[in-house]
């Protein structure tokens, strides 16, 4: 399934990501992963030490760049003389949706990410917290800047709902299918547009 001219590590990560997205972390076995990656079963424990660590590395590979892109987009917004709620939401939403439509297989990762939210695995949550918390904190500060009428508790409530809606939309949970004449890129752009408009209205609501 995967071209053999990539390294063993990469092929394992690609196959693991895809299979975790489809069958979950417990549901996808290392034998399925290594068979899909066309590598030996023992290669996982050789290169990653354990299945648990393989899961972490699947996240790290994508989250590092996603975090960078989000923070870069946010920094660009904050540098403008004038910016609004929609701009901050865009900085948060668009990199994630861009990842979900990446041509390198990143589409599967967003479903892995959605599973991570559903899983209440402590070690996984700690790992995600270590990678995400500083990003979230910066966005909360930015949102507070353009929503001064919301007290902090209220803002956290609403941002929580936004995050949920975003995760849901990213993972393409719903029944909405791409319309025949529309490219994947247009489809995702439309999704971002709807999501931002929706979330902005919800956040601004009196």
């Amino acid at each position: 399934m995967n071209a053999p001219h990539f390294s063993t590590k990469q092929r394992i990560l690609d196959s693991a990501e895809s299979l975790f997205a489809r069958h979950g972390f417990a549901g996808a076995s290392l034998r399925q992963v290594t068979a899909s990656a066309q590598v030996n079963l023992a290669a996982v424990n050789y290169h990653f030490g354990s299945k648990e660590n393989l899961i972490n590395e699947v996240f790290r590979r994508r989250l590092d760049s996603l975090n960078e892109e989000r923070l870069a987009a946010l920094a660009a917004v904050l540098k403008r003389p004038h910016f609004g709620l929609e701009d901050i939401l865009d900085a948060f939403v668009r990199p994630a949706l861009a990842l979900s439509m990446a041509h390198d297989g990143g589409a599967g990762f967003v479903r892995v990410l959605a599973r991570a939210f559903a899983e209440h695995n402590e070690r996984l949550r700690k790992f995600l917290h270590d990678n995400y918390s500083h990003v979230l904190k910066q966005f909360v500060a930015a949102f507070a800047q353009v929503l001064p009428h919301l007290d902090k508790q209220e803002l956290y409530w609403r941002l929580d709902i936004v995050s949920g809606a975003l995760t849901y939309a990213m993972a393409d949970f719903g029944v909405i299918k791409r319309r025949p004449g529309m490219s994947e890129l247009q489809h995702r752009d439309l999704a971002a547009e709807h999501l931002i408009k929706f979330a902005a209205a919800g956040l601004k609501a009196g």
Copy 2:
């Protein structure tokens, strides 16, 4: 863990629901379930036939009444001379949040429900579609009634986001913790209030 004065079937369902919520469908074994329920391992296959069917029955027990409550609430709203978007949203949201704070262990079920959305298991999706589609259809018709300016495609987009946010909020994915002086009931009521206000604003947005 479970009182022995309930039937074997009920104790299995209770334990399965709780363990599926914590560890997922693949992650919770029948040995864990039967140990927690204090019944023999073979009892699952005797009463339910298979693990897959046990999963279905865990859903059926809760979804049947949830669907009834939602449709009843919607019917009550539609009978009024005047009703708005928030009333329909309330009919959709409140029964689900009420389930999530039920004293009979229904709190765990909403997390099971959230997992079902994350799982792309075909048989499970078919089962949920069979139980849910007629409810969703009625709500879509009601929403279209108070949102005549939205074409059908746009409405489906937004309702999809609402469902995602609701599922997310119900499963208590987020970091928001109940404030010390607040009862569980007040906490959920506040959640419903925020969610409805948020969703209504997003749905009404131009």
